[in-house]
C-alpha cells in the first residue's frame, strides 16, 4: 500500500520552499554563489515573498548567471555587463511595487559597472543589490578584479599591487541605506541579513565574499574559504525578527542595537565591536577604512538608515505601477491638444 509523503512545510503565504527553487546550477561545485542562491531561496521563503512579485536582475559574469538557479517563478533580466543598475532603475520606475533583487559580481560592479553602481547607490531606489565577490573574473579564467586585496596572489603567482575597492564604504558614502558584508560560508549571518534586506525600504547593498573554487581558493588568496574562516571579523551579530514572527529575544541592555524596519520587523544587531553605531555614517566609513589598513575583513551590518526617502518618494510617483496605468490616465484628452495648438497659433 502506497504511503503518502508528509505534506511539505508551507510558509505564511502557503507556499513550500520548492516553489522558490530555480534551474539546476551550472556553476562549479563548491562555488560560493550557489550557497548565496540557497540563502536567497531560504530568505524569500521564510519572509513569505510572493515569487511572482520579485524581479531578478543581473549583469554579466558567473554571479549574473545565478538568478537562473533560484526562484523560477520570478521574472528575470540578465542584461549587459556592468549595466544591471540602469536596467533595474528602469524596471523599478515602471513597477515600484515589486521586490527587486539585483545580483552582480565584483567585476560587474567595481570595474565595468562602477559608473552605474555609483549612481544606483546615490538614488536609493528600493532594491537589494548583492555583489557576489570573489576577487576574480571567473568566466574569462581568473584575472584579478578591482575588489582583490592588495598583495593577494593569483594561482599563477601574480601578486595584486593595487588596493581593492571597498564597495561597502563606497555605497555608504554614496547614499545606500542598508549596507553590509557577509560570507557565503556563513549561513546564519547571510540569511539574517537577507531577510532584513527584504524588509528594508531603499537600496540595500550587500557585499558577499563568495570564494571562486576554481581560480581564487588557494594559499595566498584573500578571498578563499580558508582565509575567510580565519579572518572574518563580524562587527555585530545579526538577528532579524520579521513582523509576522512571534518571537521575543531578550538581550542585556546596551548590547543590542535595535532597528525598527519599515514593515514593522526588527533588526537586532548585537554589538561585537564596542560602541559601534550602525546609523553613524562617518564612523561606518572610517571603521571600514581602518579595517582595510589592518588587513581585517569586517562583516555584518555596517550602516542602516530607515528614514531617508527613496527615489520613488522623490519622484512622488502614484501608488500604481507606471507601466500599468490605463490610457485614460496616460494620454491627455483631445481638448488638451486643442488648447496647445491654440497657444501656438
Amino acid at each position: 500500500m502506497a504511503t503518502t509523503a508528509p505534506a511539505p512545510k508551507l510558509n505564511h503565504i502557503g507556499l513550500p520552499v520548492l516553489e522558490y527553487r530555480g534551474g539546476k546550477t551550472t556553476l562549479c561545485a563548491g562555488c560560493g554563489h550557489n550557497a548565496i542562491s540557497e540563502r536567497i531561496i531560504d530568505a524569500m521563503y521564510q519572509m513569505g515573498v510572493e515569487p511572482e512579485r520579485v524581479m531578478k536582475m543581473s549583469g554579466i559574469g558567473c554571479s549574473s548567471k545565478s538568478p537562473a538557479y533560484f526562484m523560477a517563478r520570478a521574472h528575470a533580466f540578465n542584461s549587459v555587463h556592468g549595466r544591471m543598475p540602469s536596467v533595474s532603475t528602469g524596471a523599478i520606475l515602471a513597477n515600484h511595487t515589486m521586490t527587486t533583487l539585483g545580483i552582480s559580481g565584483d567585476g560587474d560592479s567595481a570595474s565595468i559597472g562602477m559608473g552605474q553602481f555609483v549612481h544606483m547607490m546615490r538614488r536609493n531606489l528600493p532594491m537589494i543589490y548583492i555583489i557576489e565577490d570573489n576577487g576574480v573574473y571567473g568566466l574569462t579564467k581568473g584575472q584579478f578584479s578591482a575588489t582583490a586585496d592588495l598583495g593577494s596572489k593569483l594561482k599563477t603567482g601574480v601578486v595584486n599591487d593595487l588596493a581593492g575597492i571597498d564597495t561597502c564604504a563606497l555605497a555608504i558614502q554614496l547614499g545606500a541605506t542598508f549596507v553590509g558584508r557577509s560570507f557565503s560560508g556563513d549561513k546564519k549571518q547571510l540569511l539574517q541579513m537577507l531577510k532584513a534586506a527584504i524588509a528594508h525600504k531603499g537600496t540595500v547593498m550587500l557585499d558577499v565574499i563568495s570564494p571562486c573554487v576554481t581560480f581564487n581558493d588557494h594559499e595566498g588568496s584573500t578571498k578563499s574559504y580558508k582565509f575567510m574562516q580565519d579572518n572574518d571579523e563580524p562587527i555585530n551579530e545579526v538577528d532579524f525578527v520579521a513582523s509576522f514572527d512571534d518571537i521575543e529575544v531578550d538581550y542585556g541592555s546596551g548590547e543590542v542595537y535595535e532597528v525598527e524596519m519599515h514593515d514593522g520587523s526588527n533588526l537586532r544587531l548585537r554589538k561585537l565591536q564596542e560602541g559601534y553605531d550602525p546609523t553613524d555614517k562617518a564612523n561606518a566609513v572610517r571603521t571600514l577604512m581602518e579595517s582595510q589598513q589592518n588587513d581585517e575583513i569586517l562583516t555584518g551590518v555596517f550602516y542602516i538608515d530607515t528614514q531617508k526617502p527613496t527615489f520613488i518618494d522623490l519622484l512622488n510617483l502614484v501608488d500604481e505601477p507606471l507601466g500599468q496605468l490605463p490610457e485614460s490616465v496616460t494620454r491627455p484628452a483631445k481638448a488638451t491638444l486643442d488648447g496647445l495648438m491654440a497657444s501656438l497659433q
Binding site: E19, E50, P51, E52, R53, M55, M57, P67, A68, A72, R73, A74, H75, A76, F77, N78, S79, V80, R83, P85, S86, V87, S88, T89, G90, A91, I92, L93, A94, N95, T97, M98, G115, Q116, V118, H119, L315, N316, L317, V318, D319, P321, L322, G323, Q324, L325, E327, V329, T330, R331, P332, K334, T336, L337, D338, L340, M341, L344, Q345
Partner: protein
C-alpha cells in the same frame, strides 16, 4: 565668416532695385550668443507670421554659451518655401566682430539695419543703410543698466518692423502672448519696440524695396520647433518613463516632454504618473528605457550622435531580447564631437544597424514638425507592437528651428500596447513560450513582471536563447530565433509609415529623400520645373525598413536621385542593400554635408550638372 556660402552674396530671383519685393526675402540678424536676442528674433518671426505671411526661422549658433557670433535668419515666403536660402537680403547687424563680413555678404540692393556705431557705410555703396542708435535709445528708455542688453534687442525689433512695414499692432499682440501674465515685462519690452519703431519712422525714410504686406496664408497654422513637437507626440503617446542625458541638439525634446508631463500628468492628489530621470550617461539612459519597457512602461530617451554610439551595446540587447523603447536621435554633424550645433543626416547607417552581431532597427524619419509629433506617437505603438527599440531620426534643423505647420491632429487610434498575456490568459493557455511564433506574425507573446501567475515568469537574456527563453548554444535553436527576428523585421515594412509621393506619372526621373531635406527638395523641384522645364517624381521616405512602394518607385524610373545630408550617401547605401541588383545601378546621389541646413539651389545645381542641363 562662419556662415560659409552666405558669403556668396547671390541674390535669388534678382529684381530691379525699384521693383517692390513683397513677402519674399530673408532677414539675417547677426548677433552675439548669450545676448538674449533669441526672444527678440522669435517676436520678429511671429510678427511676420501674424501678418499672415509664411515664414521660417533658423538659428545658426556656436557651440558656446556667450560671446561668439550667432546668426538668426528669418525667411518670409509668399510661395510657402521654408528651407534655408543662401542669401539674406536684409541684414540686422549687431555684432561688431562680424559686421564687415555680414555687410559684404549682402546682395546688391540689399538692406543693412545696424547699430549706428558699426559704421557699415564704409564697406558698400550698393546697399541701403539704416543706422539706428540702439545703445542711445536703449539708455534713454531703460534706466536699469542690467536690463539694457535685453531691451536693446526689442529696440531693433521695432526698427525692423517699421522699415519692413510690419504693423505695430501685430508686434504688440505677439509680445502680449509671449509675456502672457507678466504685464510689467510686456510694458518694458513693448516700450522698447515702440521706441525703435518711432525712431525709424521719424529718421529713416524708406529707400529699399523689401516689404511685408498683410496676407492670409497663415490662418489656422502654428509655429513650433521639431523637438517640442516630438515631446508633445511622446506625451500624447502616454509615455511614462523618460531617461536621458543632456546633449545638443536633443535636450529640448526632453525639456518639452517634461514641461507637458508636469502640466498634464499629475493627479488631483499631486502625484506624478510619470518619471523623468536625468541619467549619469547615455548608457544608463538606454538601460533605464529598456528596463522600463521590459516591465511594461512606455519609455523613451532622446540623444544625438555621441549618445547613439554609447547606446550601441544596449540597442543590440533590445533587438535580441525583444524589448520596446523609443529613442529620439536629433542628428548633428560627426564624426566624434563634430560640429555640435550644426545639422546633419549622417547617423542613418549607424542607427539602422546599431550594435554588434546581426542587428537591425526600425527607424522612423519625420520630415516636418507635424511628423515629429505623429511619428513620435507612432514610434511607441510600433515599439510595443514589434517588441523592439524604435528610433526616431530627426536633425538639428528640424528639431531646433521654428517651422510653420498645420495644427496637429489628435491620434485617432487607441494606444497599441502589443501582445501581452495576463494572468487570466495564462490560466486559459496553461503557459506560454516567450519567443514562439504562435500567430505567424513572427512576434511572440510576453508577460510583464508582477503578473500573478505561477507560469508568468520567463528569463530575459542577451545570451543565446530558444523560443521558450531558455539558454541555448544549439545551432538550430539559435537560428530559429534569428530567422524569426528577420521575418519580424520583414513584416515591419508593412507596419511602418509608408512613403509620401509627389508625381505626375510621366517623368522617367525620380528623387528619393527623407527628413528635413524635404523642405529644400520641394522648392528645388519647382526650380527644376521652372528653370529647366523638367518634371521630376519625388518620393519621401518615412521609415526603415523600406516599404515595398519604395522598390516599386525605383523600378518604374530610369534614374533615381537620392538626396541626403551626409558625405557617404548613407540612404543610398541602405537602399542598395535592399534593392534587387538590377535596380541598384539606377541610384545617383546628391549630397550636402557642410553643417548648414540644405537649400534648394544646392540640389537644383547639382541635379542640373548631373543631368547635363
Amino acid at each position: 565668416m562662419a556662415t560659409g556660402d552666405l558669403a556668396l552674396g547671390q541674390l535669388e530671383g534678382a529684381t530691379s532695385v525699384r521693383e517692390r519685393v513683397i513677402n519674399d526675402f530673408s532677414i539675417n540678424v547677426a548677433t552675439v550668443n548669450g545676448s538674449g536676442s533669441q526672444s527678440a528674433n522669435s517676436v520678429l518671426l511671429k510678427s511676420i507670421f501674424g501678418m499672415g505671411v509664411p515664414v521660417s526661422g533658423k538659428n545658426l549658433f556656436p557651440s558656446n554659451i556667450a560671446g561668439l557670433p550667432t546668426w538668426y535668419t528669418i525667411r518670409a515666403s509668399k510661395d510657402g518655401y521654408v528651407a534655408r536660402k543662401r542669401a539674406s537680403e536684409v541684414l540686422v547687424a549687431l555684432n561688431a566682430d562680424t559686421a564687415r563680413e555680414d555687410a559684404l555678404a549682402l546682395p546688391s540692393g540689399g538692406v543693412a539695419i545696424y547699430e549706428e556705431k558699426l559704421d557699415l557705410k564704409q564697406y558698400r555703396e550698393d546697399v541701403v543703410f539704416y543706422p539706428v542708435p540702439l545703445d542711445k535709445i536703449t539708455a534713454e528708455i531703460c534706466p536699469e543698466a542690467k536690463l539694457r542688453k535685453l531691451v536693446r534687442n526689442m529696440v531693433y525689433v521695432g526698427a525692423v518692423a517699421q522699415l519692413l512695414r510690419i504693423d505695430l499692432s501685430v508686434v504688440e499682440s505677439g509680445l502680449r502672448k509671449q509675456f502672457a501674465k507678466k504685464v510689467k515685462v510686456f510694458e518694458l519690452n513693448f516700450g522698447a519696440v515702440k521706441a525703435g519703431f518711432d525712431y525709424a519712422a521719424e529718421n529713416l525714410p524708406k529707400q529699399d524695396q523689401y516689404f511685408i504686406e498683410r496676407a492670409d496664408q497663415t490662418k489656422g497654422k502654428i509655429i513650433i520647433d521639431g523637438n517640442a513637437a516630438a515631446g508633445m507626440g511622446a506625451v500624447f503617446a502616454g509615455v511614462t518613463v523618460v531617461a536621458w542625458y543632456p546633449i545638443t541638439p536633443s535636450t529640448s525634446v526632453v525639456e518639452a516632454t517634461t514641461d507637458l508631463l508636469k502640466k498634464f500628468r499629475v493627479t488631483p492628489e499631486g502625484k506624478a504618473t510619470f518619471a523623468v530621470v536625468q541619467a549619469e550617461d547615455e548608457l544608463a539612459a538606454i538601460g533605464m528605457v529598456l528596463g522600463a519597457g521590459w516591465a511594461g512602461a512606455r519609455s523613451m530617451t532622446a540623444t544625438s550622435g555621441p549618445g547613439i554610439s554609447l547606446m550601441a551595446e544596449f540597442a543590440g540587447l533590445g533587438y535580441y531580447a525583444e524589448i520596446p523603447g523609443v529613442i529620439f536621435d536629433v542628428q548633428r554633424t560627426g564624426p566624434s564631437t563634430g560640429m555640435p550645433t550644426r545639422t546633419s543626416q549622417a547617423d542613418l547607417l549607424s542607427v539602422a544597424f546599431l550594435s554588434h552581431g546581426d542587428t537591425k532597427h526600425v527607424v522612423l524619419l519625420p520630415g516636418s514638425v507635424k511628423e515629429c509629433f505623429e511619428l513620435a506617437y507612432a514610434a511607441f505603438d510600433l515599439a510595443e507592437r514589434l517588441q523592439t527599440p524604435v528610433f526616431v531620426l530627426s536633425d538639428l534643423d528640424l528639431g531646433m528651428n521654428n517651422w510653420m505647420s498645420e495644427v496637429f491632429e489628435y491620434p485617432t487610434t487607441p494606444l497599441d500596447r502589443g501582445k501581452v498575456l495576463t494572468a487570466e490568459d495564462l490560466d486559459r493557455l496553461g503557459g506560454f513560450a516567450r519567443y514562439r511564433d504562435v500567430d505567424g506574425d513572427a512576434i511572440g507573446w510576453r508577460t510583464l513582471p508582477g503578473t500573478r501567475h505561477p507560469k508568468a515568469a520567463y528569463f530575459t537574456r542577451g545570451s543565446g536563447h530558444n523560443d521558450a527563453a531558455g539558454y541555448t548554444e544549439k545551432p538550430d535553436e539559435y537560428i530559429e530565433v534569428m530567422e524569426r527576428l528577420s521575418r519580424k523585421f520583414e513584416n515591419a515594412r508593412k507596419l511602418v509609415p509608408g512613403p509620401v509621393t509627389v508625381k505626375d506619372g510621366t517623368s522617367k526621373i525620380g528623387v528619393l529623400a527623407y527628413g528635413s531635406t524635404d523642405f529644400a527638395m520641394r522648392e528645388s523641384l519647382d526650380q527644376i520645373k521652372k528653370e529647366y522645364g523638367r518634371s521630376v517624381d519625388y518620393m519621401r521616405i518615412r521609415a526603415y525598413p523600406f516599404a515595398h512602394e519604395i522598390h516599386d518607385f525605383v523600378a518604374t524610373h530610369e534614374r533615381v536621385y537620392v538626396v541626403e545630408q551626409d558625405r557617404d550617401a548613407q540612404l543610398a547605401s541602405l537602399l542598395k542593400l535592399d534593392l534587387p541588383a538590377d535596380q541598384v545601378v539606377k541610384l545617383r546621389s546628391i549630397l550636402h554635408y557642410n553643417g548648414l541646413p540644405l537649400d534648394a539651389r544646392t540640389i537644383t545645381e547639382e541635379f542640373a550638372t548631373k543631368e547635363g542641363l
